[in-house]
Amino acid sequence: MPDTHFYRYDEYDRTLVAERVDQFRDQVRRRLAGELTEEQFKPLRLTNGLYLQLHAYMLRIAIPYGTLSSRQLRKLAEISRKYDRGYGHFTTRQNLQLNWIKLEDAPDALAALAEVDMHALQTSGNCIRNVTADHFAGAAADEIEDPRIWAEIVRQWSTLHPEFTFLPRKFKIAITGSPNDRAAVRVHDIGLRLWRNAAGEVGFEVIVGGGLGRTPMIGKTLRAFLPKNELLAYLEATLRVYNRYGRRDNLYKARIKILVHEVGVEKMRADVEAEYAEIRDGLLGLSDETVEAIARQFAPPHLPPRSSLVAAVEALRLEDRDFALWLKSNVAPHRVGGHAIVTASLKPAGAPPGDASAVQMEGMADIADAFSHGELRVSHEQNLIFPHVAIEDLPAVYAALGRLGFAEANVGKITDIIACPGLDYCALANARSIPVAQRISNHFADLARQHDIGDLKIKISGCINACGHHHVGHIGILGVDKNGVELYQLSLGGDVDFGKTALGTILGPAVTADKVVEAVDALVATYLDARIPGERFVDTHRRIGAQPFKERVYALV
């Protein structure tokens, strides 16, 4: 068993999670015995990750900061076999959802999770949700500091926080440690961006009030530079202001983004700073010792520098076109020479985005053990990542992924579609998402064509809650229900890249389900005709505007 290179629970963490499982077991027992009403029980099960969907309960398991060991992934496979139907769905918030859980089994499933230091705490409910981070953290060449150290600190502080368990609405925090934001920090309730100031100190830019959903908003800077060790005091101050003054009269106006919007960021800042001034010297200050003790656990594996130019890799690149494409789209630079970050696409042609069977999960765990120091990551783009792969091992990793069906060279391309579960599973959805994703994926399956089209992010949500992040898709697709018919609204120009974060603009009237593929095809054709060399879809759209796209789509449908 390889050592893990991220936070390991100690007896305190284990005790707390075990006690929480015991508490939930008792709550489930009381619910089944009729001692708790559904209204009373619902928030209890939600804060333990258990939803009720159309056909069954769904368990949303937290994968804090998207980091997983091979051992944990094997346990997830085992749980999915034993308590579910042997597959799971990786989500845009670095969670894993099991779709067919029984209430009476849920405490046992949670106890099994606890065996590998995992939980489903606060993956739902009006509380601080699973903290997400850059999926390349600890490996990315452009990283200033590993954001997972801070995500773990926030995870602990937010877990069973007595003051913030009944907030006006859910609260999502994301952290990035790189200038290239891969954690979408501007579309979270709080986004934290580590950066180095002119004095050479590293601190956080604190961004507040971003979010998608019904009222999409780009977050605003609350504090340009926060000393790192004051993070928890600042978060507590912000959450306290939100808990006291966030709207509770209207579910749709209860997120912090609405509070920030209504009072203005200046007033929000004044309130938070006043509260922060009261508590900054209190017990929430983090000692260097505490931070270092956690940071040590995230120490990267020892990777001896190796040659980046490996003859066998070069040979295969020349002889196997798909491998060459895969190197281009699925392999990213690592900070240590001779190594790479490999993204395994959970989007093979025609498959439900982000789904993996128990056997596939186990296969991925094996690859992680053999080639990535036993470590994996889950990305908010619903893919799995091997963060520490030697370049000389790339052909072997590619071959092993191919055997699992996860070697598609499509990361960042048109078939690397983000999609929420949609009306096939979800009680909130208005329209299906997965079948739409499948049809687009099949239509554009040809890899050479995908690479010719280049970077293009399609994001599909089955309702306004925007779990599929359609607002920030280069092409966003939103399912709506009109008199019992599924229609799909297209939007263009969304982006989550840092500095370019933008919300898409609706193209025109929604199209019927059978026209979605044709419409996307027309959008792509418009781009291919109009692009100048080096331009991505989203750049061309920015340059020429929506009109040419609109004309071509509505001439067809």
Binding site: Y12, L16, E19, Q23, H161, P162, T165, F166, N243, E289
Partner: protein, 150 residues
């Protein structure tokens, strides 16, 4: 509604005035705050107050948790702090951590649950008004002990 009192404060029959009424009678020792009342305004008076009642309009409305922490932590209020309204046993561990010490609840089994609530979680992650040492502090102490043994 049955009252569960860990504080030994005022008799249960003592009338807590609304914030508006109490402001007319600042010598009265008992006040009931709405979630929108400014707790900070009580600062000059907390020494005289013996009962403050905080309201949970619904059990899922958590504003009173913040009010409680401000009263205990910032204003240094030491009298009885009572939760009323949507007070259910599954939230009582959180209420204890925020400084509540008396509870009005008509939920069956609440008293037994209250007795158990302090032992439900032997580990906490946050420093709050109950004075319990969070895990980070326990770790620090343990490391210091280990370092001193070396």
């Amino acid at each position: 509604m049955p009252l569960y009192n860990e504080a030994g404060g005022l008799p249960a029959t003592y009338v807590a005035l609304s914030f508006a009424d109490w402001r007319q009678r600042l010598d009265w020792p008992a006040v009931a705050l709405a979630n929108t009342d400014p707790v900070e305004d009580l600062a000059p008076h907390v020494g005289r107050l013996r009962l403050i009642v905080l309201d949970f309009p619904k059990f899922s409305d958590g504003r009173a948790y913040s009010q409680a922490r401000l009263l205990r932590g910032r204003l240094g209020y030491r009298g009885e702090l009572r939760a009323t309204g949507g007070v259910l046993q599954d939230q009582v561990a959180f209420m204890l951590r925020c400084g509540f010490d008396s509870f009005e609840s008509d939920q069956k089994g609440f008293g037994e649950a209250l007795a158990r609530a302090r032992t439900l979680f032997s580990i906490v992650y946050q420093p709050t008004e109950d004075g319990r040492a969070p895990a980070s502090l326990l770790r620090l102490k343990r490391r210091n002990v280990m370092a001193s043994k070396r």
